[in-house]
Point group: C2
Chain length 352, copies 2
DNA sequence: CCCTGGCACTCTAAATTAGAGAGTGCCAGC
DNA sequence: GCTGGCACTCTCTAATTTAGAGTGCCAGGG
């Protein structure tokens, strides 16, 4: 805890003061002056002494003042140190815990679970919640069904893995009856049921390119239809990340400039940047925090992002998190994100 | 066009001036002074004359000035008159038309179509698009399927009408095999396939309450499961209205106050008010316009809403529209909304 | 009667000024 | 190394000023 040439020297007392300063700043959002800090810190120090320490902390880059005659507020580096070394996380509030448990139940589809998780994150933290859709570890075709529509159109319903249902409409060369389509579906289910989707696609593409004499007309039609289904590029996931509670962010003083909000909401809409950011956290263990510009996206410059990967069967399948102003109650948010990740993982677990 | 005791007197010249004023105001968003108007109107009138006319128009409530020494801007009543009597709608831009045609295709599911329509509305108008999900004229159960999951859970897939696929997870009293579930599904499909959903629910609720000796175990189980499915209250529609392009609204000067935006975005999130508003337009013929407070929702006080019902098979099934600042290019927006409604209706048409 | 130029008047927006308050930095003394 | 004291800086608010835009109204002319 003493002299360390690589890190700026920051002794116990300074650490404690930094901590009190940040806690205070997080509470009221206003620069903290030496007098206030002297009172808050309960260390029997005069404000003059505090001022000296603050000057040091400012030199080291942990705090800054918006102008000469204002108190100090944390820099990104200050928050970083606070979060890494000074923070004692609060245990999760009992009510919140119950709410999470109650709502992240097993009897929900994948989409529902993810949406709920996002709503819970935003609801409990009163900030914005983001949840990446779970990556499919392997995407097995569980079942495929065809239903005739009007004209030559066919509704295709596909069940992937346990919980995911996709559907789309394809065109056929002629009108098929329900029973014909059932035959086709049966054929495909027998051939490909339980197989990996990528593999299925490959086989079908190959089939389409060569003529099989050993296939009857119905089988060929089936392959033809499957071709249409599996070549669609939205075969992957369509909406990769679910955001909730964006409007909460409009309540924070520090984000209240229309321009900032515009960028931020644009980012939420595009989802691309958010997704990339979350993607980086897939390999992190447990909660990870990006403070201000650390995220690398200008839209998030005024924000912090608290993320956690969530796992099914011990394997990370997605990332979720909370986005709020840098001045957020990290000690409260961290366990919320952590717990939500655990519970979402558990709820998604097929337990087979 | 002359004296009419019920309406304020507003002669040709005043109408023309009002029109020019509003067009100008829509263009630049700044109060229009008498001198500018004199130049714009190309009527060989002096600014003093214009001032007299403006005073009259202000008395009649068509224009107002933000303060003594500013030009005039339209009131809600002014816009109303403009929209009802003075407006000549522009024909729809060819490029936009093509884009609408290209993207509102037949080979899309209900959800996809609605989302596209909303995106198109917002993309072309550069404001916010809203599309109500189409009411089902009648909700016929097209097909129901069961798929076993782990534990005692069963994935239920339901096809309603032509395009709508719903799925959820239910719990059963014991684990059923795939073939057992197929039997159950067959039973239900035979019993209820093509029937109206409300009717199906009634029958099933009744079945559940009395013991049928004539039903075998499998049939009972099937009814049991169906009971779980049809009693769920999200049986209706889950997300009633799709909003797109909200962020576009942040670019408009008149909506740039954070407070206004907060309310507005809150309304978009809740969707309730938006839905109610759209609901009122179901019985309107063609495009309907709400200007400012006319909508009756304070969140939309600064906005205008241009709506149009859309129909399938000659019957109105939903409403779509555009939300933007009162100062919008109505002449351009109206045909966009109108055409989108037509094309969406056409795309949804099962043509059977 | 309607239109017009002219002029006094009003109001806003932007720039300027003044004063209060908060907080700092630094120094001299303990 | 800590402290009280003091001069200084900077922001925030309110008050004041000024320029500009636009009006309302009047009196004169077709």
């Amino acid at each position: 805890m003493s002299k360390n040439p690589s890190n700026p020297v920051i002794n116990e007392r300074a650490q404690h003061l930094l901590r009190v300063l940040i806690e205070r700043y997080i509470r009221d959002g206003e620069p903290v002056g030496s007098r206030t800090l002297a009172r808050d810190a309960a260390m029997e120090l005069s404000s003059a002494t505090i001022r000296n320490v603050m000057a040091d902390l400012e030199d080291m880059g942990f705090v800054k003042s918006p102008h000469t005659s204002a108190g100090r507020m944390p820099t990104v580096q200050g928050y970083r140190f606070f979060v890494d070394s000074l923070l004692t996380v609060q245990p999760l509030d009992g009510v919140d815990m119950q709410r999470l448990r109650a709502e992240l139940n097993l009897d929900l589809t994948r989409q529902d679970l993810v949406e709920r998780a996002s709503n819970l994150l935003s609801g409990i933290t009163r900030m914005a919640g983001v949840v990446m859709l779970p990556r499919r570890k392997q995407a097995a075709l569980r079942r495929i069904d065809f239903l005739p529509l009007s004209d030559k159109r066919v509704l295709v319903i596909m069940v992937i893995n346990e919980r995911e249902v996709q559907n789309r409409i394809i065109y056929t060369d002629r009108k098929y009856t329900q029973s014909e389509l059932e035959l086709a579906a049966n054929f495909l289910n027998e051939q490909f049921g339980g197989k990996d989707i990528a593999a299925v696609r490959d086989v079908i593409v190959a089939d389409l390119q060569q003529t099989h004499e050993d296939m009857n007309r119905m089988m060929k039609a089936a392959v033809e239809m499957a071709g249409q289904v599996f070549q669609a590029d939205d075969m992957q996931e369509r909406e990769d990340v679910v955001v909730a509670g964006q409007t909460n962010l409009m309540g924070f003083r520090e984000l209240c400039e229309v321009d900032t909000l515009h960028h931020l909401f644009e980012a939420f809409n595009q989802k691309r940047e958010i997704l990339h950011l979350l993607d980086q956290c897939v390999n992190a263990e447990g909660v990870q925090i990006f403070i201000g510009e650390e995220s690398g996206y200008t839209a998030l410059d005024e924000c912090s992002v608290v993320t956690s990967p969530y796992s099914v069967d011990g394997k990370v399948v997605g990332v979720l998190g909370v986005i709020g102003p840098t001045r957020m109650a990290y000690d409260r948010v961290i366990p919320i994100v952590d717990t939500t990740a655990r519970l979402l993982g558990a709820a998604l677990n097929p337990r087979e």
